[in-house]
């Protein structure tokens, strides 16, 4: 079986500084992988390189997404093929209603996949249902995307987008940061609803807390741009107790 995502010896730099140092990671369909690691380890960098953010230079390695060369694809093509990044810091777009953004994104992806675009009422219906599951006030859909949203609202909105777009691979970058316990539960429930046999997830987090709610199949430690340890969900608890210090010194 080909892995959903297969990263081999990935090296990447930004502004002449090497951040990823030969990173290996394979995620199969149906699996949830957690990536934990100290600040500055390169977790966000990994998510950006996978999604094709400009500015990063790939200096080594390969990445296959469903057997295809991911790094050769344009970033919007990666999205249309089912790669979704829930941003650590979601961006604001003044003047663009949340619903308009959702509809534009969904139809842009469908068009690229050669599927028929959905009508505004159809999109609205689906968005309403999903919003309800995430306890998002329908009024919020009229507000410009992320403008003036609280931290929790932004993360719920990322989850809403993810649920609507039904990606094949979800990369969640610190989705728990800035969430109180109630918001964390809502978001985690939303993510858990998306668990599916044909979908994989990478959950990036600094804290073990999130993994009480989104229980991973595999846990990795990322330090200094590489996966330095891999284990089961107990590894997360272990890290909670010992901290990252040992890995930082190991990497340095």
């Amino acid at each position: 079986m080909t892995a959903l995502l297969d990263i081999r010896g990935l090296k990447a730099e930004i502004d002449g500084r090497q951040i990823l140092n030969g990173l290996d990671l394979a995620v199969n369909k149906g699996e949830i992988h957690a990536i934990m690691g100290p600040n500055g380890a390169g977790k966000s960098t990994l998510s950006y390189v996978l999604s094709g953010k400009p500015g990063y230079e790939i200096t080594g390695g390969e990445v296959f997404f469903n057997g295809e060369d991911l790094l050769a694809m344009d970033p919007d093509e990666r999205a249309a093929k089912g790669l979704f990044l829930a941003f650590q810091y979601p961006l604001e777009i003044p003047g663009v209603a949340t619903l308009t953004f959702l509809r534009t994104a969904l139809n842009a992806q469908r068009k690229k996949r050669g599927e028929e675009e959905l009508s505004s009422p159809d999109v609205l219906k689906r968005v309403r249902e999903l919003a309800k599951q995430l306890s998002i006030d329908p009024e919020m859909l009229k507000r410009p995307l992320n403008v003036g949203f609280s931290g929790g609202e932004k993360k719920r909105n990322e989850t809403l987008q993810m649920a609507l777009l039904e990606p094949k691979l979800c990369v969640l970058d610190e989705t728990d940061s800035g969430l109180d316990i109630d918001a964390l539960r809502i978001v985690a429930d939303g993510v858990n609803r998306l668990r599916a046999a044909d979908r994989g997830m990478i959950v990036i987090t600094h804290y073990q807390r999130l993994l009480d709610y989104i229980v991973p199949d595999v846990v990795h430690v990322l330090a200094a741009g590489r996966i330095v340890k891999t284990g089961g969900k107990d590894l997360a608890l272990e890290l909670e107790a010992t901290g990252y210090a040992q890995y930082q010194s190991e990497a340095a």
Binding site: L85, P94, G95, V96, A108
Partner: protein, 498 residues
């Protein structure tokens, strides 16, 4: 293209000529001799069967023009225009006809498709000729009906307007049929001596629209659809005069979101609006003239004088413009707030891409007591273009309690373009309150990437962000037009990134 293809089939049988002749006055093809002289002015006036007073008016303007020099204060740069090397009168040429839509530049068809303009209208705008002998009666009927529909719609409009007492006709006709109104108001807002281009226009203007809405009448429709059909070939020196009598209301829509190609490089239009007591005029423009090619060659010079006079108490004039075309735009739709409690508004979206140069803005001249004005300007510069907002807000000694609010926002796409804001503010009495806000920002790469990560292409992302940026102004446009304008904005920014 499937839907488009189907419609192409349908328009094959359209009797476009019948449509055209149904609307436009036929003038035998004639050209005035090249260059500008009293002879040219007389020739134009004669061609149009004008009364003596009109000729006199034109000649005075011409003599005045001889004493004037071309203004150079705008932030635009172009080779000197040789005014003796232009034709000032040519009978409107029928558009070059083609026998089917297949002969039209696919690029242009693509633009129409993106704008969602029905193909029968494309056929009309592009002058598609019917194919003789092509007989598929069923199909033919559909297409012809579609066109006849437009004809009957226009006729219904005319009847309805007449019932309401609204006069809406070419200004050349109004000069003959309503001389008392034209004489009273023509040049009363933009005098013949106003500025170099307005004076030139006064001497040689070709045609334009005339609207008079009688006291207490609310014009029963947007003066738009009808105009859109008729607007072709208005010529390079357009002259428009709109009068809303006491308590009247009219909303007028100028222009067309379809690509406008024109062989005339210099356009110098004059638009005058007069609002009497308690009257309101809403004037919306979408300007999409040819901007020149990617190297900055060609393109229209658009030197326009647009001014509204809030002559009566409690009157209101509102300008809304979406400027995406022309190589050079020099345009300041203004309001003279003469009547007490009168109000002026200016909502503008000005987009420049490629090598376009835009110098646009407004003037709000507060003369009456408690007059108010509001300016919302959104400038978007991309490519190697230059985009300047130039605004003047003044309060006269007697304009007690005058208030203005101005917000000018500029958005830069890329790093080879420029945005400039030049506000002039003058208050000659201390009770005036003027507020001014201005921002300039660069389109955020992070925001674009966020959109692209969700599946939008780079161009779609720019279009979405820019449409969000201009939303406050788009909302001022009549609904059905706002949708087209939104698409037009995305189209005009194509190739601005990457």
């Amino acid at each position: 293209m499937a839907a488009v293809q189907e419609t192409i089939e349908q328009v094959r049988g359209i009797d476009v000529d019948q449509y055209r002749y149904g609307f436009e006055t036929l003038i035998e093809s004639d050209k005035a001799p090249k260059g500008l002289s009293e002879e040219t002015v007389k020739f134009i006036s004669e061609k149009k069967n004008e009364p003596a007073w009109m000729l006199q008016w034109r000649l005075e303007a011409y003599r005045r023009w001889l004493t004037m020099t071309e203004p150079t204060w705008a932030r635009v740069d172009y080779p000197r225009i040789d005014f003796q090397d232009l034709y000032y009168y040519a009978a409107p040429k029928p558009k070059k006809t083609v026998s089917s839509l297949d002969e039209i530049d696919p690029e242009i068809l693509k633009t129409y498709e993106k704008l969602g303009i029905p193909l029968r209208e494309v056929a009309m705008l592009e002058g598609v000729e019917p194919k003789p002998g092509e007989e598929d009666p069923a199909r033919r009927k559909i297409a012809v009906d579609a066109v006849f529909d437009s004809v009957s719609v226009a006729t219904t409009f005319k009847a309805e307007l007449k019932k309401a007492g609204v006069i809406f006709m070419p200004i050349s006709e109004a000069i003959r049929e309503h001389p008392e109104l034209v004489q009273k108001y023509l040049g009363s807002v933009v005098p013949t001596s106003d500025n170099f281009y307005a004076t030139l226009n006064s001497a040689v203007f070709s045609d334009g629209s005339f609207v008079y809405v009688p006291p207490g009448v609310r014009c029963p429709m947007e003066l738009s659809t009808y105009f859109r059909i008729n607007e072709r070939n208005t010529g390079q020196f357009e002259r428009t005069l709109i009068i809303a009598d006491k308590g009247a209301y009219v909303s007028y829509l100028e222009g067309c979101t379809a690509p406008q190609r024109d062989e005339n490089q210099l356009h110098a239009a004059v638009v005058e609006l007069v609002a009497l007591d308690d009257a309101e005029i809403k004037y919306s423009t979408v300007q999409n003239w040819y901007p020149g090619n990617s190297e900055g060659k060609g393109g229209i010079y658009n030197f326009v004088t647009k001014r509204g006079d809030c002559r009566g108490a409690n009157s209101k004039i509102s300008w809304t413009q979406v400027e995406t075309g022309s190589a050079i735009t020099w345009k300041y739709p203004s309001c003279i707030l003469r009547g007490d409690n009168s109000r002026g508004e200016f909502y503008s979206i000005a987009i420049s891409n490629g090598y376009q140069q835009v110098d646009s803005g407004t003037k709000m001249i507060h003369l009456g007591k408690n007059t108010t004005s509001r300016i919302i300007s959104k400038g978007i510069a991309a490519g190697k273009s230059q985009n300047t907002y130039r605004g003047l807000v003044t309060a006269h000694r007697k304009a007690l309690g005058a208030r203005n609010f101005t917000a000018c926002d500029s958005l830069l796409i890329g790093d080879k373009c420029g945005a400039h804001t030049v506000p002039y503010i003058e208050a000659k009495n201390s009770s005036a309150t003027f507020e001014h806000e201005a921002t300039t920002s660069k389109i955020s790469e992070d925001v674009l990437f966020y959109c692209i990560q969700r599946g939008l292409s780079q161009e779609e992302a720019v279009g979405l962000v820019v449409n969000g940026f201009v939303k406050d102004v788009l909302q001022q446009l009549p609904m059905e037009f706002a949708v087209e304008a939104q698409k037009l904005i995305s189209i005009s920014l194509e190739g601005s990134v990457g």
